[in-house]
């Protein structure tokens, strides 16, 4: 055994230890990771956390954190400074990785923790070019000017850091172990970065380039027909009966319309199709208790840990319960002893693109208002994990940062576009939520809303005084009609945002005669509103369904509202399925297809998990619209803007001979009946291929493929195939991993009561059974009754006492 020299053996051992201590690609260092003491095993929760007392630097007095039977933290502090410090501490304790990964994303720093990855690098670059970190810095400066807000974000930050300082690698959240990374100190800038992330998700959509191309390809008539015409069934958030009691001063539109050189693929993030929400409040005259009831369910991309965390914040003159957004102080959707509030997103057009002409390749000057105007520049550096540094120079016009159209390489001269975005507007929107947390009545609520900038939200409100209200709220640019619908002229001041709609003119109403207020991302107002907001809101169906139900209801109880949040009825299906069934050419169907058509024609339009028709309808409609539009759209060789389904339904019903129906690739002229029949047979084939013979596997609950993924996309840390009903157009908007990320119902009154549930848990630790503990209740619509304490309770699951010096 000569070859077994001690030297060779030692080399082998060292090589083995180094290998097991090194990260290869996405594989964590195996020795470190599997170490039963400090590796991922240390994150397995073996017992409930124990009650304990901790010393917390910076506290002025003792703080108690009571965890109730679902482990919801209730923070009892003796002053607001301590309240937010403790909120920061507890949030970090439960959700540190989630907080951090979102700020890395918003800062364009993902490459720093993920390493070399072309897609991640591109995302980081685009994030920087959007001016996300730049605008976050602007916002911090704005918050700093307001001493109250600054004290809040500073205390919160201090709390997060106090928690981070207690950590050693052994008790890092498990994701850090998977990524072989370490937590970084928190700062108020990170809170602003999270705000930027919300802006990108909720107000980061734009169709300017696609609309320009669609107009160039199909002509302005097409734009008028599909984008500038509201469906008749639309009920805007503020009903048409509302009278506007003010005069609007509007900017003037330019005489001729600008035609861009190219509008091809300006660098966009894909608009987030999963974003939407419902909220409503009913007046005491319609409820069993005589007090208002408020309901809200924000729809987002579902994730684990949940985007929200339930929490109660209690201090003198402060007692709010609801959900927090990790990294932002206060409660974002919730209630206190006097009022309740919930938001849905507003689709106002707050992102516009301007074609820019530079004087020369240095990009130091651009043409504006008949003169050369100087640009400013900012250098962005991305430090990729492993040492590589990527630099990028941002060029700013007065509109905003400039990007180069991707396909302009083929043109003689590159074409540039500047972005004007509400996300870049300085402002202190976070203070609004703190003030709502403390609001006592309608006027406090309106005062809180005044300083809010963006993302614009429809804030629904109800109070113990019996008031209900909704405000379409946020800083809204005052535009001429259809300003910014297409790519704009960056050299002409007429295309600039020339001011804002005065806050008092923002669409709103209070205690309307119908006895309820509601919103579901549909248009804010009807045409009688004297300002222009946007051409692109959510289809009418969800909002209309909410109103139809509320109109008919009386003696409403909180349970009625919870049931309503689970409503799966599809107005979209109701509006077109009877016609589809009628249009089918039955002679063309085989026996099995005919048999299923009987089921389709007897469907009640409920998008229930246990039904077979919803999944079939979903694919049938998709196939049909594709066969109508895709021949023309694909011939265009560029990405065009698709009309909303509600308007397509209307056009098909009113004009069955509509010219797009014909397939331009064939010589014959197709009829709508033929397309509907072909789409039906194709869908039947598709469903059979994927789900076998008609049976349980055709159930919508399986077909919708509802995966709730981990926030860092780590496989195994999510929840797959959460069997559920729902649809885009139903109040219960659950589908394909998107949907109601929090459902809340609050009954106002002498004793305010709340119910709520989200698909997740409190802790963000995948090694705890609490991580996904609420999913089953969420799936089945069994809201939890919320423990809203007036004072610190005597009993708890466990309790954390945070002591000052």
């Amino acid at each position: 055994m000569r070859f077994l020299s001690p030297f060779l053996s030692a080399i082998l051992l060292i090589a083995c230890l180094i290998t097991l201590n090194t990260k290869f690609g996405s594989i964590p260092p195996l020795g470190t990771f599997f170490d039963p003491d400090a590796g991922f095993w240390a994150n397995a929760e073996l017992d409930l956390p124990e009650s304990e007392q901790l010393h917390l630097e910076g506290l002025k007095a003792e703080v108690s954190v009571v965890f109730d039977e679902r482990r919801v933290p209730h923070i009892f502090a003796q002053n607001e400074h301590d309240l937010f410090l403790a909120q920061g501490y507890i949030t970090a304790q439960q959700r540190l990785f989630q907080m951090e990964i979102q700020t890395y994303d918003a800062a364009g720093r993902l490459s720093e923790i993920i390493g070399e990855n072309p897609q991640v690098q591109q995302r980081d670059l685009t994030t920087r070019r959007w001016g996300m970190p730049w605008a976050a810095e602007l916002k911090v400066a704005e918050v700093q000017k307001d001493s109250t807000s600054w004290a809040i974000v500073s205390a919160y930050s201090q709390g997060v850091n106090a928690y981070i300082n207690t950590l050693s690698p052994k008790n890092y959240p498990i994701e850090y172990k998977v990524l072989n990374a370490a937590p970084e100190a928190w700062s108020p800038l990170k809170t602003s970065l999270l705000h930027m992330n919300m802006l990108r998700t909720l107000a980061g959509g734009s169709s300017d380039d696609r609309t320009s191309r669609t107009a160039a390809y199909f002509g302005q008539d097409f734009i008028e027909k599909f984008f500038n015409t509201d469906p008749e069934a639309l009920e805007a958030i503020i009903p048409s009966s509302h009278e506007w009691e003010f005069e609007a001063e509007r900017p003037e539109a330019p005489q001729t319309e600008f035609v861009p050189k190219t509008a091809d693929r300006i660098q966009f993030f894909e608009p987030n199709a999963g974003v939407g929400s419902n909220n409503w409040a009913v007046h005491g005259s319609k409820t069993a208790s005589g007090y208002p009831i408020l309901a809200g369910d924000p729809h987002l991309s579902l994730s684990l840990p949940s985007i929200w965390m339930e929490m109660q914040l209690h201090a003198p003159d402060y007692n709010a319960y609801g959900v927090t957004f990790q990294g932002i102080p206060g409660i974002l959707i919730g209630f206190n002893e006097h009022i309740a509030f919930s938001e849905t997103n507003t689709g106002s057009d707050v992102m516009d693109w301007y074609e820019i002409t530079f004087k020369d390749a240095s990009k130091n000057e651009y043409w504006y208002d008949n003169t050369w105007k100087p640009t400013t520049k900012r250098i962005e550096e991305i430090t990729v994990k492993g040492g590589n540094i990527i630099t990028d120079t941002l060029v700013f016009t007065h509109h905003g940062p400039v990007m180069r159209a991707n396909t302009s390489d083929t043109l003689a001269e590159p074409v540039y576009h500047a972005m004007r975005w509400i996300g870049h507007e300085a402002g202190n929107s976070l203070a609004t939520f703190i003030r709502l947390n403390k609001a006592k009545n309608y006027s406090d609520y309106v005062d809180a809303l005044k300083e809010y900038v963006a993302p614009a939200q429809n804030f629904v409100f109800a109070s113990n005084e019996g008031d209900i209200a909704i405000w379409v709220n946020g800083k809204l640019p005052n535009k001429w009609d259809y300003q910014g619908q297409k790519v704009s002229d960056g050299s002409n001041p007429d295309y600039d945002w020339q001011g804002w709609i005065p806050h008092a003119h923002n669409p709103h109403h209070k205690n309307p005669p119908r006895g309820f207020v509601s919103s579901a991302n549909q248009e804010s107002t009807h045409d009688s509103y004297p300002y222009y907001l946007a051409d692109e809101f959510a289809p009418y169906e969800r909002g209309r369904r909410i109103n139809d139900l509320l109109r008919e209801m009386d003696q409403i109880t909180p349970q009625d509202m919870m049931d309503m949040q689970m409503d799966n009825y599809s107005l979209h299906a109701e509006s077109i399925v009877p016609e589809l069934v009628e249009w089918i050419i039955k002679d063309s169907l085989n026996a099995k297809e005919l048999e299923f058509l009987v089921q389709m024609s007897s469907w009640n339009f409920e998008m229930n998990a246990d039904l077979k028709q919803p999944g079939f309808f979903y694919y049938w409609w998709r196939t049909l619209t594709r066969s109508i539009f895709s021949d023309e759209y694909e011939a265009a060789d560029t990405e065009l803007r698709y009309p909303d389904r509600d308007r397509v339904v209307e056009v098909l019903k009113n004009e069955p001979g509509f010219y797009l129906i014909d397939n331009i690739e064939t010589e014959s002229v197709e009829t709508l009946q033929e397309l509907v029949t072909d789409a039906y047979s194709y869908t039947y084939q598709l469903m059979s291929n994927y789900n076998g013979v008609v049976g349980e596997d055709w159930n919508w609950g399986f077909v919708m493929n509802n995966d709730i993924n981990h926030v860092g996309q780590i496989p195994g840390f999510g929840a797959n195939d959460v069997y559920s009903g729902g649809s885009y157009e139903a109040i219960n908007a659950t589908r394909f991993g998107y949907g109601p990320s929090w459902r809340m119902v609050v009954e106002l009154g002498p004793e305010v009561k709340g119910w709520g549930v989200y698909p997740g848990g409190i802790t963000g630790n995948p090694g705890s059974p609490n991580y996904d503990a609420f999913i089953e209740n969420w799936r089945t619509g069994n809201h939890f009754e919320l423990n809203f304490y007036r004072e610190k309770p005597d009993e708890s699951l466990f309790e954390l006492t945070l002591q000052s010096n």
Binding site: G31, P715, G716
Partner: protein, 119 residues
């Protein structure tokens, strides 16, 4: 046998306070002290740390009702949570085997300082 027991106990204590690779120290030291034949050293070292890491992992797996191991198994694409326990044991075992082997080979003396068998 004693060799394995001593490695288990000392590696357990070392791992509580030092990084994971400190378990190799246990193998090196007792491999040196016992100076078994190469194969014997490797096998005892492997067995010792396979048992230590494997049983620590198994205890955690059971006490946690498999919540975390189920997720890690899915992350690694290995099918069963028990394989996650097994991998942990094997990693410990390889380090134990190699370090004990190295320890024994590094001892130049022909005679053992201690015997693996109780006299």
């Amino acid at each position: 046998m004693i060799l394995a027991l001593l490695i288990i106990v000392s590696a357990f204590i070392l791992n509580l306070f030092l990084p994971w690779w400190s378990i190799a120290l246990a193998g090196l030291i007792f491999g040196f002290v016992f100076k078994e034949k190469a194969l014997t050293s490797f096998l005892w070292g492997f067995t010792a740390l396979f048992i230590l890491w494997g049983s620590q992992a198994m205890y955690t797996h059971l006490a946690n009702d498999g919540v975390l191991t189920g997720r890690i198994a899915e992350m690694l694409g290995v099918g069963s949570p028990l394989i996650v326990v097994l991998i942990t044991g094997v990693i410990g075992g390889i380090v134990g085997g190699l370090s004990t082997l190295t320890g024994s080979l590094m001892n130049p003396k022909k005679t053992r300082l201690l015997s693996t068998r109780i006299p």
